[in-house]
């Protein structure tokens, strides 16, 4: 079997409809296009961090960014299995479709997934439910505990600098102290493609292979690599109600006010985080190509459109990251 043949296996395993992927022409391209360059950079970052890690882990939620990171990992370590465990912090409010997709992906790739559950922490009173019912901010403690219990020293995430302006400041390799805190005023210089993952016992590094990708890059990559995603990302009919300009789906954690009436609309999700604070957008985009066209012409940022937790203040993300958030 040739290596080309192998590619079909790898991508098919991440793919529900299994399109036939034509083999790329042999021989180096004279010039890498932007997506080739981003992929090569992402693979370099993954290999570099894994090579210097004692025990690496990928934060894998089943969301599109973590799907892209995991796909890069399958390419970086081909023709072997991805030598990295997966970790997911389950808020207990995740979409069922996303959890199912997560588990199916893990099984197909033969990987090990550790799940840290916010619900466990609420059940034994280590964390208390917030008045607004959202749980995004509650993920930090279970995340840090899972990192410590797993003995992970290199933690890969799918965060991108174009998501939010505090993220825009973060290094590809970001040092976290014993409390998981990011110190934005004292970041290490990061030169060329020489990534420094060294840290003291108790510290760890977060590593973001998609740092330089935009939302549009991720979608073009999903199209090019024929990656499967949870169906929520594509247009579907759903009962939703409107709050603060966002379309929320009925959920036990959200108290719907009398004025908030349910209506069936054609929507899709641009991000698939905690269902209690992630909104859908009205969209007819049912295919990857249509999503790409939509994202390319959109006038609202991804988080601005769909994340209630980032609308709190100018520094909402910075504050969460300082406390050890993703």
């Amino acid at each position: 079997m040739t290596a080309t043949h192998e590619r079909t296996d790898v991508t098919a395993s991440l793919n529900t409809t299994s399109p036939v992927t034509p083999a790329p022409p042999a021989g180096a391209k004279r010039e890498l296009d932007a997506l080739d360059a981003l992929e090569a950079e992402g693979i370099h970052i993954l290999r570099e961090a894994v090579a210097t890690a004692r025990k690496p882990v990928i934060l894998f939620s089943g969301g599109k960014d973590s799907v892209a990171v995991l796909h890069l990992a399958t390419k970086a370590f081909w023709p072997g299995r991805v030598p990295i465990e997966l970790l997911h912090v389950d808020t207990g409010h995740n979409f069922d479709e996303v959890i199912a997709f997560r588990d199916a992906t893990v099984e197909r790739l033969g990987l090990r997934l550790r799940v840290a559950r916010v619900q466990d922490y609420i059940d034994d009173n280590r964390l208390r439910e917030r008045p607004d019912g959202t749980r995004n901010a509650l993920q930090t403690v279970p995340l840090l505990d899972a990192i410590a219990e797993g003995g992970y020293d290199v933690v890969f995430g799918g965060a991108r600098r174009d998501e939010e302006k505090a993220r825009a400041k973060e290094r590809v390799v970001s040092l976290r102290d014993e409390f998981g805190q990011w110190d934005p005023r004292n970041q290490r210089p990061e030169l060329w493609n020489l990534y420094n993952t060294r840290h003291l016992p108790g510290q760890h590094v977060r590593v973001f292979p998609l740092s330089n990708w935009t939302e549009l890059d991720v979608w073009r990559y999903i199209e090019r690599e024929a990656l499967a995603l949870p169906p929520l990302y594509y247009a579907h009919e759903r009962e939703v109600f409107e709050r603060d300009g966002m379309l929320l789906t009925p959920h036990p954690a959200i108290k719907r006010r009398n004025t908030e009436t349910l209506a069936t609309r054609v929507v899709r999700y641009r991000t698939v985080g905690d269902a209690s604070c992630t909104g859908a957008v009205e969209s007819p985009a049912a295919t990857t190509a249509e999503v790409i066209a939509e994202v390319a012409s959109t006038r609202i940022t991804e988080r601005g459109a769909t994340r209630a937790d980032d609308r709190v203040s100018e520094a909402a993300m910075e504050d969460r990251k300082k406390e050890g958030y993703f």
Partner: protein, 464 residues
Amino acid sequence: MTTTAPAPNASAPPTPAVPVTSLLRFATAGSVDDGKSTLVGRLLHDTKSILADAYEAVERVTRERGGEGVDLALLTDGLRAEREQGITIDVAYRYFSTPQRTFILADCPGHVQYTRNTVTGASTADALVVLVDVRTGVVEQTRRHLAVAALLRVPHVIVAVNKIDLLAWDRAPYDAIAADVADHATRLGIEVSVVPVSALLGDNVAVRSTHTPWYSGPTVLDLLETLPSADQLDAHEVETSEGVSGWRFPVQYVLRPQDAALTPEYTEYRGYAGQVAQGVISVGDPVVVQPSGLRTTVAGIDTADGPLTRASSGQSVAIRLADNVDVARGDLLSSASDAARAVKNIDAHVAWLAERPLRVRDRVWVQHGTSLVQGMVTAIRGVLDISLPGGTLDASIVEGEQLDLNDIGVVSLLLASPLAIEDFSTHRRTGAFVLVDTQDGATLAAGTARAATPGTGTDGYLSI
């Protein structure tokens, strides 16, 4: 894009809605209040890269602070401390594209105390945009940024002479600054384009100004859209120069799946994973492994997408070798013609980025390519005096006993074991290294190995 869409109901044909273009990384730098953040905001605005909610948020915050219109600097200053102090502390990365190109912009701080962050932003840049206020001309911080560009060999420097509207678009002050810049550039050995701009009004940023009929050159965006990237330059050099076809490949990771092989035929697979650092690798090329000096040939170039016959600078691939030689992470594969050479003594320009000073006999880790070895400072040959007007990097080096934060100096290092460190002026990747603290792992310095300059009496350069 050659694949079909995988989405549910994949009915629509895969129309590439947005063409994938080449990538240019550039950085912006300037001293305080020269309008750098405004220039960045102007570039983003005129290329229609600011999304509606981000724009409205900036409008709202500008208003809340008693300002008028839109303070474009608020778009990039992402940290609370930055907004409170109205300055840029760390590099902000921004992403935008035009029909011609995709850009990664590293917006760097201007304050001298944050030079370390500017060095971070400039190290990956294909181009550096340096802002100069037309009313003040070239200042110390301009010289520092030009020196950083020379030190890091940023392929192109664009000096944007800003605020020309404040001097009624007068040509004379611009001409004087352009001549001054050209003089510095020649002596530093860097390639510079000078453009008269008003970031506030948009003159010659993305749109040609009607106020500067005396300027016939390109706009800032014209330059950014047409300049070749470092990888493109590298590929071009390899194509056009005879005999200088050497390639470099630092080994990152040995792919040896054994029981973890995806299919049984890969159980015995052995490939060396890495990113091509320079040149074009072809199957069949004779190889030298450094530092061991072992010789073999390239048996195959693999990727998860299938085998290649050639791989060029910037590509992440896996190399199979014809013979079962001992190769590990940290080794450098290079073409047998124009091969790299492992050395134990180096002289280097060092940009010192740590609070504590660097002194003779200090021990450090030297991180080079994918290798990490101990090093010891055997001499500090001098420190760059940024206040000396003009002069080459070396001519402005004065005597010094230590390097302090943000100093650029020339340092001799003894390595605990040989590394294939090469002359940075001809080998962008294999000539670069960082120094790392042996205790807490902090990144201390950016280093570029230097060629011996005749007559300066340096004798330690790149020797065994």
